[in-house]
Amino acid sequence: MIRSDIVRLYKTVHTWTGISCGFALFIAFYAGALTMFKEPIARWASPPAVGVAAVPLDDAPRLLELVAAAHPQAREEGIKLHLRGHENEPARVTWEEDAPHEEGQPHDHVHWWATLKPDGTLLAQPEEPSELADFINEIHMSVGIPQAAGLPLMGLVSLLYGVALIAGVIVLLPTLVKDFFALRVGKNLKRMWLDAHNVVGITALPFHLVMAITAIALCWKGELWSAQEVAIFGDRQAILMDRDNGPFEVPKPTGEAAAMMAPAQLLRKLEEQVPDLQPSFLVFKNYGDTAAAVRVPGAERGHVGDTHLGGVMLSAVTGDVLKDGALPSRQDPDRRAAETLYGLHTGQYEGLTIKWAYFFLGLAGAWLFYTGNLLWIETRRKKARDGGAVEQSRSTRLLGSATVGVCLGCVAGLSLSIVAAKWLHGRVADLNHWHAVVYYVVFLGSIAWAFARGAARSAVHLLCLSAAATMAIPLTTLTALLFPALGMWAHGSAATLGVDVVAFMGALCFAWMAVATLRRTRHGPADSVWSIRKPGQASALSTPVPADA
């Protein structure tokens, strides 16, 4: 039995750590849930490659030869050969070339793609790929604050999140078994929000603990790296770093020409030598040289880890494995442990089952922080006695507005940022910059609206906005299908249609919440920040209404 004063202490710790980090964690979890489908979102947002016929894998050697001859820098830096034919892969091969950094440009390199014309000659063009999915990931990692400040801040938030989790479990211990699975919906709103909060927090506790620990490590990686250098490794850290980078270092070119093995043949050789590796793509370095190499990143069956870094290096001449130190089953134990933790954070293992599980757990995490705030407000609600008037405290009114503005502003902002990928394509110079503009305008506008109109009214407005913005995702695809002259596109793959279907379902959920909230503001208890009625004013409804805020 835990002493009641200890429970009270941990409750205070849980409450204040939770309240202080809740907004950032809501954004991180909501955007994080979307990043589980980063690839389908990138595919949905990528325009079709107009006039570019897909080059069969058997014709790839000719394409690679032409690119290597015409673009020496690509030959040196690496020519990426795509294997899946997804919509976000503009052609069979792509690469990056250095470019002088220009004002207003996001980076100092240019993305190129290349294909074969019908007459067998090379068609190569520079084109910026959609960075929408990366933008959502940035919001997830640093909640929209520039990374230099955002990452350290999110490290601190993650630390406090871990403290809040442990404190919350200690508070719950005395009633953990008795109340497990309890979700009592009724007139006792405090009990209802407490149950709604606890069910999600306790049943998904292992997920949250892993997220808190790995997020601290990921956000403070620079600081931890420096501390490790000072405290443990000293000068040896550089040596260890070199050893870590060894599997990615390509052999020096000899300058002698050699015949390259065809990609289809390379894949067969790979299957024979490393049968458990599922290749994502191939990167050819020094194509045409006797020392040419192919990096093959991918997932290895049975291992949790980074699918972009793990993999092997093959000889482009013989197809033999040159280096396999980055293969999960061959990594050093310390590297393997780090990769496993990273993979557990990002859900990079198995396939669709884990992506959907992380998606729902991410949304449930966002809901956990939202309900935490609602519980804080409900706990501090001043109840009217005998129909008399009562003013809710300033802190609850402000937290109510902030909860609605930040959380729903993030939802609506992300949805409209996704929609912008199709509506603004070809209409603005730098679409990737506009994703951020759309997000911040909606997000900050929502916060301003929430404080201007109060929690109750703005909750309805912003839920309607979230529903409309999210519904705009499938409607945009439908519009593209019905009106091709608008210059938008509607891909027909299961992954891109999945984005539309999930957005449609999400929009219905937000619409349902908007209706429930509207009823709550009109007919729920008047002595609350979630009511637009004055205390004592009668509800228009004669029957009791389930209270939703």
Partner: protein, 88 residues
């Protein structure tokens, strides 16, 4: 095939565990708890074994764990939404 079986066993195992809880809201008249708990535990163990067989130990364990977590919070919420929908 084995992944579908593993998923079905895990979801059914969690459903049994939920139905064995005194707070379950799926049935107006609760079923006997001890047999449900035993069946739920057996199904979860079988589900874990199937995940491990399909995906090898480490990945199998983590996939099973995450599916269990999702089921354990979805079931009470599904029941609560159902009771709200019925006006209880």
């Amino acid at each position: 095939m084995i992944v579908s079986l593993a998923l079905a066993l895990t979801v059914l195992g969690c459903a049994n565990i939920y139905l064995a809880s005194p707070h379950q809201k799926w049935r107006a008249r609760p079923l006997p708890r001890t047999p449900l708990r035993a069946a739920g535990s057996l199904l979860l163990v079988a589900g874990l074994a199937a995940w491990v067989a399909a995906l090898r130990p480490m990945v199998g364990f983590f996939v099973a764990l995450h599916v269990v977590m999702v089921c354990l919070f979805v079931f009470p919420y599904a029941a609560a939404f159902r009771s709200v929908g019925r006006g209880h």
